[in-house]
Symmetry: C2
């Protein structure tokens, strides 16, 4: 299976803390293997670590200083999610057929224009403004064909899905 | 076509402003017809209105005081997105087959427990903690089978999707 890394660029602290936390939790829940930020933010790392301790999963988080070098050195398909890119409906088949590792770049409005050239694919989850959290989730859901949503994350707690109500089981892990 | 309304409960202002804005933009971009909040927030309404003026679309936004009455009076399928619910992979076919209007409830951790009983369906976009923005986007993407991502929103500006770079066209609207 190709390894999936999510690179979140341009995180601005107080303003983006919750958005970055959502990106981290979506990366974990939708089957990414690694998450990379270009700015260190301990709160986001702690939120993710707390969720992994309780609910399982082994996603790795790291912080880098030089995003450009990181992208240039990356071996695999570089997929930049942007509303200016080619529509996912047309490109997802081709992306899935490539067995290379995947770097998914989530930028936002202020993304440096070089990224468009460095990316193997610039992909629009539609071509309307919405949300980097939504874009990442829909991309990963399409990429994994929904299979990530039934994966056992082997945590201390596990939800037993209910038609009405909440049921959480403690596991022996 | 069934009408789709998104009800966002428990928006807490400063903390949730950006998350609520993402929910509003996702509702628009992924084909909801109406968005309802249980707390008035002019900033969120203005962000959405600004995007609609520029990029088109006619999603209606409103604020209500009594969410419980609103839900009880709703005629149609009530779909509460929650990680405790039945997995979307198992239920999406049944939900799509019903031709009734749809109320999609996005709550979050502090959602009142009555909602689980009032909902026709409690649906997990997976059964792991992640993001209400992601949950809404994936639900609507699955519900519309991706078709909303190519819809012409008839705005003043339109993106011409590019493999590399940005191209925006002014329309005659």
């Amino acid at each position: 299976m190709p390894k999936i890394t999510v690179l979140r660029l341009g995180h601005r602290f107080s303003r983006d803390k919750r958005i970055s936390t959502h990106i981290a939790l979506v990366s974990r829940a939708f089957g990414a293997d690694e998450l990379v930020f270009d700015e260190e933010d301990k709160d986001v790392a702690e939120s993710l670590s707390r969720v992994c301790k309780e609910w399982g999963g082994k996603i790795k988080i790291s912080f880098i200083k030089n995003w450009k070098k990181y992208i240039e050195d990356y071996k695999g398909d570089i997929i930049h999610l942007t509303m200016y890119g080619l529509n996912i409906n047309e490109k997802i088949k081709e992306i899935k057929e490539s067995k290379k590792d995947k770097l998914i770049i989530i930028g936002g409005q202020k993304v440096p224009s070089e990224i468009y050239g460095l990316a193997t694919y610039n992909i629009g989850i539609g071509n309307q403004p919405h949300s980097e959290v939504a874009a990442l989730a829909v991309f990963l859901d399409r990429y994994h064909e929904g299979k990530e949503l039934t994966k056992d994350q082997k945590g201390k707690k596990r939800i037993i899905p209910q038609a009405h109500g909440k049921k959480v089981e403690k596991t022996s892990i």
